[in-house]
């Protein structure tokens, strides 16, 4: 088996969830590396969209901004934020990929502030950007993040971006599109999905060498396993080679 670090594992696993012939709205960093890897392996016709207007690029290198000119390099369109956001609102975007400072059991995300008083935050963070828009309107939203107790929290300081809000039916009651919502969370320990009845996060596959106790120890809320829990397929040698030589040759992401 090839050796790999945890970031390489996360990216390779995340890439598998992006199917060929689908449309995904992508952020910079690790999600973008996953999309690039998918495009170079099993999903050559994956349409990547970037919120500042880039549509269907053949990425030559990872963008540093979701607006930079790489996001429509040899693409189909360089259009506007209006066009990309409206395409999501119409229901044509299958996936989005997000990060965030905190995530809770229902897949809600905080990227706004840390502290108990909104008016006097301990730490001010960037805010929603396009995250709330993406997770409101894409069919399936995915999160790629490191697994630790400070990130996987019971109670968040601020819900920037909607997951399943406070449980079954809450998205629809709030006015969000039916059947949309959190899909997968990919970390350095496991892949998680959501229980259909409770809308709570649950472990679907454990990465090689990881057990449920370790996942629970790094999660502040109670987390269960899905009825059919599996072991995550490790990255193939080919995935790793493409990731290291074509996707991130300067190790901007995988060297973190």
């Amino acid at each position: 088996m090839a050796a790999y670090n945890s970031m390489e594992l996360m990216i390779c696993v995340a890439a598998r969830f992006l199917q060929d012939g689908k449309i995904a709205t992508i952020g910079t960093g690790a999600p973008c590396a996953a999309a690039m890897l998918a495009q170079k392996t099993h999903a050559p016709n994956l349409v990547m969209m970037f919120e500042a207007g880039g549509v269907a690029p053949i990425l030559p290198t990872m963008p540093v901004s979701v607006g930079d000119s790489r996001t429509y390099y040899r693409g189909l369109m360089a259009t506007s934020m209006r066009d990309v956001m409206a395409t999501m609102a119409r229901g044509m975007v299958d996936y989005c990929f997000l990060g965030g400072a905190q995530i809770d059991a229902y897949g809600n995300i905080n990227s706004t502030m840390i502290g108990d008083d909104y008016d006097d935050p301990k730490v001010r963070l960037p805010g929603s950007g396009g995250a709330n828009d993406l997770a409101s309107m894409a069919w399936h939203s995915m999160v790629l993040t490191v697994h630790d107790k400070r990130r996987f929290v019971e109670k968040m300081y601020f819900v920037t971006t909607p997951g399943y809000l406070d449980g079954p039916g809450a998205r629809e009651r709030a006015g969000l599109p039916p059947d949309s919502g959190p899909y997968k969370v990919i970390t350095d320990l496991a892949v998680m999905g959501y229980n259909a009845d409770t809308c709570r996060m649950q472990v679907e596959s454990l990465h090689p060498g990881v057990d449920m106790e370790q996942v629970q120890a790094n999660t502040s809320f109670e987390i269960k396993s899905a009825p059919q829990i599996t072991q995550t397929e490790p990255p193939t040698a080919r995935d790793l080679e493409i990731l290291r030589t074509e996707v991130d040759p300067h190790r901007y992401i995988i060297g973190r």
């Binding site: 910079t28 960093g29 970037f50 919120e51 500042a52 207007g53 880039g54 030559p60 290198t61 990872m62 963008p63 540093v64 901004s65 979701v66 607006g67 930079d68 000119s69 996001t71 429509y72 360089a78 259009t79 506007s80 934020m81 209006r82 956001m85 609102a89 809600n108 706004t112 909104y118 006097d120 935050p121 730490v123 001010r124 963070l125 960037p126 805010g127 929603s128 950007g129 396009g130 995250a131 709330n132 828009d133 409101s136 309107m137 601020f158 819900v159 920037t160 971006t161 909607p162 809000l165 809450a170 998205r171 009651r173 709030a174 006015g175 969000l176 599109p177 040759p249 901007y252």
Partner: protein, 336 residues
């Protein structure tokens, strides 16, 4: 329409289209030569207390020369639209130029990390804030550009972002479902960097337009900075290539490399080293003070700043980076 929910955030601008129409009724329609230096454009069109919106996307096609001039002239108490505002936010925070901000995305520089000084500024209590999202801010510009008081949208529903926004959530009269009404945002002044413009302000942008065609129509005043001046004959030869009409525009400033250190699509890439230098310097307040003295207060204009940043030689490197051309002696794949 039944109102279901009201965000607690402040509205910093008046969404009434009739009040905006009073302004637009009087706006100059004549073909007037609007060429002027950046210094003059800022003196005439940006006043203390104005609400400012900046084009581009933080690290892409921002009008850096005008942002520096705003700092240099010591503008204060501006309202600021934080619609993915990254290096632009960083510059204006360094000058403590704004005291209220509509936030979609601030402080961060995307994949580059967070700006320590922008964060300090927003944590200092000196800035009143209101939460939105990128699409939400776009719908606000769009409503203004359409001349209507709001646009309905499906962002922010069910979240604290909505609770701290200035939006109202209502029951849709057609579907009966909750929907967010995004109030029109008419900035007092927008500053937009473009690839080409004529002396009247007819302009072209290449690559992704982000929100700038809409922003130019939503704003009461518009300052354009342009990479280069082109003739009006050229503008008229290919009308479909033009995205901003002259009658939206109040000033045209010719500023080659005017988006530096951000990315100008098809021309030059962002200067990642210089942006890194900003971020590193900002960790220490004293250091930042000296840095801003050197690069902004200590320079008379943008040309001087460019010279401090490596001049034409550096610009040529960034041009090669944008076009994925390897540096002399560099293998082709390393240019990627």
């Amino acid at each position: 329409m039944k109102e279901l929910f009201e965000g607690q955030g402040p509205l910093f601008t008046d969404p009434d289209p009739d009040h905006a129409r009073e302004h637009f009724r009087k706006k100059e329609r004549g073909l007037v030569n609007k060429l002027m230096p950046v210094k003059q454009a800022v003196e005439q069109l940006i006043h203390d207390g104005d609400y400012l919106a900046v084009g581009g996307f933080g690290g892409v096609r921002i009008p850096t020369s005008v942002l520096h001039e705003i700092v240099r002239q010591g503008r204060k108490n501006l309202g600021f639209s934080g619609h993915t505002s990254t290096h632009d936010c960083q510059i204006l925070a360094a000058g403590e130029c704004f005291d209220r901000c509509d936030i979609a995305y601030i402080i961060g520089l995307e994949a580059r990390g967070l700006s320590p000084n922008s964060r300090r500024y927003f944590e200092s209590g000196k800035v009143k804030v209101c939460e939105w999202t990128n699409a939400g801010m776009y719908w606000r510009y769009q409503a203004a550009a359409l001349g209507v008081p709001f646009i309905p949208g499906r962002s922010m529903l069910g979240t604290d972002t909505n609770a701290h926004s200035g939006a109202k959530t209502v029951e849709c009269p057609y579907t009966g479902k909750p929907i967010v009404l995004f109030p029109a945002l008419y900035p007092d002044v927008a500053v937009i960097h473009v690839h080409e413009a004529d002396i009247y302000g007819n302009a072209r942008i290449r690559g992704n337009i982000i929100a700038d065609h809409t922003l130019a129509r939503a704003s009461k005043h518009v300052i354009l900075t342009t990479e280069r001046l082109i003739s009006s004959d050229e503008i008229r030869r290919e009308p479909a290539s033009n995205c901003i009409p002259y009658f939206c525009v109040d000033a045209v400033c010719v500023v080659p490399y005017g988006a530096f250190p951000s990315n100008m699509p098809y021309l030059y890439f962002s200067d990642e080293d210089h942006l890194r230098l900003w971020l590193d310097t900002e960790r220490d307040v004293q250091q930042l003070d000296e840095f801003v003295k050197k690069y902004i207060y200590g320079t008379n204009d943008f040309e001087e700043y460019l010279r401090l940043c490596g001049g034409l030689e550096r610009m040529a490197q960034l041009e090669r980076q944008e076009l994925l051309i390897p540096e002399p002696g560099q293998a082709a794949e390393e240019a990627l």
